[in-house]
Amino acid sequence: MIPKTLFDKIWDSHVVRSIQGGQDVLYIDRHYIHEVTSPQAFEGIRQRGASVFRPRKTVATADHNIPTINQDQPIQDELSRLQVEKLEENCRESGIEYFGLNDPDNGIVHVIGPELGYTLPGMTIVCGDSHTSTHGAFGTIAFGIGTSEVEMVLASQCIVQSKPKKMRITINGNLQKGVTSKDMILYIISQISSGGATGYFVEYAGSAVESLNMEERMTICNMSIEMGARGGHIAVDLTTYEYLNRIPAVSKRHDFKSLLLKWRALKSDEGAVFDRELQFDAGTIKPMITYGTNPCMGMAVDETIPHSDSVSFIKSLDYMGFRPGMSLKGHPVDYVFLGSCTNGRIEDLRAFAGLIKGRQKVPGITALIVPGSKKVEQQAIEEGLDRILGEAGFELRQPGCSSCLAMNEDKIPAGKYAVSTSNRNFEGRQGPGSRTLLASPLTAAAAAVTGIITDPRDLLND
């Protein structure tokens, strides 16, 4: 038997038919949809006189444009409200399960999928959202698609795709105290560049990856797209089983035991060949921060901004109000955002609360603390994290994508600096003229209680 990669095992078993020239018709096991990238797809299907082929394989949530306060009231912005109502109507007409606002299971699509047990090992998963790669943490092939492809999946449960090349990124060693999986992925992206993995699907491996919990693994896989990768995944292991075992919808299945046995094959075989292999040492990674307008423009928080003659690089620093050779440590911060499909899970809230406990938010800082889902919000309240946040001057908002892409009112004003746990620092991403510095929940917490960019290790060692 020729050794196979995890990627090949899943891909090959989902090829319905290969088309001459290198495209495959790929069967999709799980399709997630949200209000922003799906309405045109439903409309397209209607215009063709087609219907949703397998409605129960699609799961819907409202997350991108919704407010993160007063969710019990009607959405104020008329266009956003119409978009959410359209999703609800489309789901009702097609028989698709929908988790709307105020549903106890509502939340960001890439947070609720795993926590409700809709994401299972070995699946092919797509969503009209580039951070669908998050689900790769469960040993799946998961990637973002466009609206035409959403229409394809609704109409046929398949899409036409060319098989990407395979890359393995192995990270061995131990992360230092105060260094998180967010720092790990920001470091990897800074080494590979924003287009360095274009055309590839990545498998993350090595002892440093194996030692991460599922939330941390999701953070890593989530940002695969930021280096151009089609997606990224991690082999199934005991950590995966333990997470799934805690989800009643999965562990109470009559076939759970036999599924566990099957999932054991979901790893790359010894000797499997990748098109590209990269290795990193986790021990050398420090808390990271980005200084530019692309996630690959990142450095250790105690480093200085590099020099480059590139027009794009200079334009980027100009936008941020930075110059080459500058240190960001001590630079004033205006906003802190904790949340998003990258860092809006319970582990992230715990990390943030752990650092700010016994300290106070600096008065000049506006903080947006946004849980990734209603379940995360509930869990945070049960653990008393909301009380710790409240005592330190923070307020827990309601779930949604919020300031990650600022489609709702959670915008960072022009010229203001935001330390953000989200995934993109593009120009205007968090609001027109906003300046985003991507970092871990610990670094965000450190900025919130000091008002400046701070190495979280300095506070942890107190």
Binding site: Y27, Q40, F426, E427
Partner: protein, 221 residues
């Protein structure tokens, strides 16, 4: 070559030969948030995104026109956008492609494209032409210096040339995608035509993995 049936309800624009001038945008890593900012995605239609293409580069904070931006420079017109490497990175929003097309571009030339943007473009009849980095840099110089420079894209021959008899380059495109874009067809027409094959796959899989979630799972999810 595979046979694709066209849906008569949604005819798309066909692409064969295009001769036009170019608009140069020599920046790398142009992300889809620049192409169409998220605040313009609050709509349920595919129309009208062109007016907000590169919104925050085209207009100043005050809403006035940014005269320094190439789309506002009357010298540069045409149906080809020439952009730096890694065009279309970031969000999967197809609205970015709709904006580029709606503005009037039919082709984007770069040394490479983000995967999702490229797929989205092909699904909408917007041709992404991938050229070598050297050729791209030289093309950016030529069209910037002489805005009247005409280029020719021959999709059948997969040839991009600078007219009247300047540099040319052969570009790659998957044969299936090429046929779709030349005939104005799309994947959905094809997928709907192979429903029986898809159902057979589901059945095969349901038998093979009786308990797995691939086929018709009795629980429905």
């Amino acid at each position: 070559m595979i046979k694709i049936k066209q849906s008569d309800k949604m005819p798309k624009k066909k692409f064969d030969i295009l001769e036009t001038t170019c608009v140069p945008l020599p920046l790398e890593n142009i992300d889809t948030d620049q192409i169409i900012p998220a605040r313009f995605l609050n709509t349920t239609s595919r129309e009208g995104f062109g007016e907000n293409l590169f919104r925050d580069w085209r207009y100043n904070d005050s809403g006035s026109t940014n005269e320094g931006f190439v789309l506002n420079d009357p010298r540069y017109k045409g149906e080809v956008l020439v952009a730096g490497r890694n065009f279309g990175c970031g969000s999967s929003r197809e609205h970015a492609v709709w904006a580029v097309s709606d503005y009037g571009f039919r082709t984007v030339v770069s040394s490479f494209f983000a995967d999702i943007f490229r797929n989205n473009a092909l699904n909408n009849g917007l041709l992404p032409v991938i050229v070598p980095e050297d050729f791209l840099n030289s093309l950016l110089r030529i069209v910037t210096d002489d805005p009247g420079t005409r280029v020719r894209i021959d999709l059948e021959k997969q040839l991009f040339s600078v007219l009247p008899d300047g540099e040319f380059v052969k570009f790659d495109i998957d044969p299936y995608r090429k046929e779709c874009i030349m005939k104005g067809l799309d994947d959905i027409d094809y997928l709907l035509s192979i429903k029986d094959v898809i159902k057979a796959y589901e059945l095969r899989n349901a038998l093979k993995y009786e308990n797995r979630d691939n086929g018709h799972h009795p629980e429905g999810w």
